[in-house]
């Protein structure tokens, strides 16, 4: 079993995942780490809203308050 970096161990504890629940997939993590770096090298303006914002239009169609 591989030991976790402290931050990973802390996150796992918060999620109530067993500290030794299995492999940590270090090779796959290297790829993910490169991807994390890649997306943070792109400057993004503050007015770029993340995709996946709430979609409320259907609620409007279903529940209109009387006016």
């Amino acid at each position: 079993m591989e030991s976790d970096r402290p931050i990973t161990a802390g996150t796992r504890a918060l999620l109530r995942l067993p500290a030794t629940s299995g492999e940590r997939f270090p090779e796959e993590w290297k790829i993910v780490a490169r991807r994390i770096e890649a997306v943070h090298t792109h400057s993004v303006s503050h007015d770029t809203e993340p995709a996946g914002a709430p979609r409320l239009q259907h609620l409007l169609a279903v529940r209109l308050n009387p006016t």
Binding site: G22, F25, E28, V32, R35, P50, H58, L59
Partner: protein, 458 residues
């Protein structure tokens, strides 16, 4: 007439509507075909023979009384085993979900039934529609993968074991298996087809969609399943245009004007790692589009494109970890190694990185939308090559990922066969909610070439 099982969905539906074929005849022919080829192909997680026979009897009685329920009356379809089917086990290709029997249908399944389709059974999926493979084999070469994750749907269609099927795509899970199996797959625009009742892999990337043997067949299926659904807030509130299939039928080959469609060929990315034979077939397919009168030109992909593909993977892994974390807490050992790697890495992606990835996604969506103001369709290879040998991997979704990431519609249509006898596909992508344009372009290509009429040597 061909054996009923060998008819396209459109031809079978037309024969049933005209009274030349009954749902019982079509089903019995299909069951006979399944008995002969399924032991080798292994496309099905379960086949509901008794239920299907009862439904075929009912639909045949209705047909004889002059009543046709809808455009899919009596058509046997396969449902990827991550779609809920009322009263039928939906195990998602996993040990975790084994024995789960939903009480109600997924919206797409319910709409197929309402259109008259017969739910023949559940087709194999990779575990939770991820990358750990199912037992399904490629009908064109049984030692090769059929692709994934809609492995069984692609294999069942190619082997003539159903006329239509449902698949779903989070990275490349409709287009890739359809291309590897020599059939047609359509990944609709995100929001065109309801995700309700489909087990999530990554909520913001999951797209349910139709698969079949011809372009017109997938259009008929899309007509049945598309449209707003109050149970999926992402579905587009306006109804889907009525009659994708009717639009195609109205523009038959002989009277199709030299269309003015503009086709873009990307300047990069979609040839990285592309094998020589697949590239030759792709270039030949693009030349066919030119001979159809389409204006073909090179297009420059946005600068953010590659970062977008990194963002896709981060979103995918983070969302998959969120989907599974509660079960993973106690049953980690019941997951396959590929999905465990996704969950474990997803658990470690920082929240600000996930948000940044979704911002990059917004940027790529805008840039790709701008690009699609200059062309109507983007044409690419559907995969870096034909189905790889071996069953441990389902091949690469890398060429399909951009359209799962942006949510723009894409489809694959067979565009040739390699020297080893394996099919490859041409991927066409278009503007959001403009499935009609890529269907028209694909139908014209299909009519001009007929690659999809070939059958695997089973």
């Amino acid at each position: 007439m061909s054996d009923p099982w060998d008819l396209s969905l459109s031809a079978a539906a037309a024969a049933i509507a005209a009274g030349r074929l009954t749902p019982v005849e079509l089903l019995e022919s299909t069951l006979d075909r399944i008995e002969r080829v399924e032991p080798r192909v292994q496309a099905w997680a379960r086949i509901q023979t008794d239920d299907a026979r009862r439904e075929a009897d009912r639909l045949t009685r209705l047909q004889r009384s002059g009543r046709i329920l809808g455009p899919l009356h009596g058509i046997p379809v396969g449902i990827k085993d991550i779609f809920n089917t009322a009263g039928v086990e939906t195990a998602c290709g996993s040990r975790i979900m084994a024995g789960f029997v939903p009480a109600t249908d997924a919206t797409a399944v319910a709409r197929l039934r309402a259109a008259g389709a017969i739910i023949l059974g559940k087709t194999h999926t990779t575990e939770f529609a991820s990358f750990d493979p199912s037992p399904a084999r490629n009908p064109w070469a049984l030692t090769h993968t059929p692709g994934g994750s809609s492995s069984g749907s692609g294999a069942a269609l190619a082997a003539g074991m159903c006329q239509g099927a449902l698949g779903s795509q989070t990275s490349g899970s409709i287009i890739r298996p359809a291309a590897f199996c020599g059939v047609v797959g359509l990944k609709p625009t995100f929001g065109r087809v309801s995700r309700h009742g489909v087990h999530p892999l990554a909520w913001t990337l999951d797209h349910p969609g139709p698969m079949a043997r011809t372009v017109r067949d997938v259009a008929l299926l899309l007509d049945a399943i598309a449209g707003p659904d109050p149970q999926d807030a992402a579905t587009f509130s306006a109804p889907a245009p009525l009659g994708y299939a009717a639009v195609l039928a109205a523009t038959g080959t002989s009277d199709r004007p030299a269309a003015a469609l503009r086709v873009g060929v990307p300047d990069r990315y979609f040839t990285d790692g592309l094998d020589d034979e697949a590239e030759e077939l792709y270039r030949a397919a693009v030349r066919v589009l030119e001979t159809l009168g389409y204006g073909v030109r090179e297009i420059r992909l946005p600068d953010e494109f590659e970062a977008g593909m990194d963002a896709h993977e981060l979103i995918h892994n983070a969302e998959a970890a969120a989907v599974h974390v509660d079960t993973y807490r106690t049953r980690a050992d019941d997951y396959g190694s590929k999905l465990r790697a996704i969950i474990e890495t997803g658990l470690q992606i920082p929240a600000p990185t996930y948000v940044r990835a979704q911002q990059v996604r917004t940027m790529v969506i805008r840039r790709l939308a701008d690009l699609l103001e200059t062309v109507d369709v983007i044409a690419t290879p559907a995969a870096p090559g034909p189905a790889p040998e071996g069953l441990a991997s389902t091949g690469s979704p890398v060429f399909n990922r951009p359209f799962s990431f942006t949510g723009f519609p894409s489809l694959t249509v067979p565009c040739g066969v390699t020297g080893a006898g394996l099919p490859v596909g041409l991927q066409l992508a278009g503007r959001p909610f403009d499935e009609g344009t890529i269907l028209r372009a694909a139908a014209a290509y299909e009519d001009a070439t007929g690659w999809g009429q070939r059958r695997p040597p089973l």
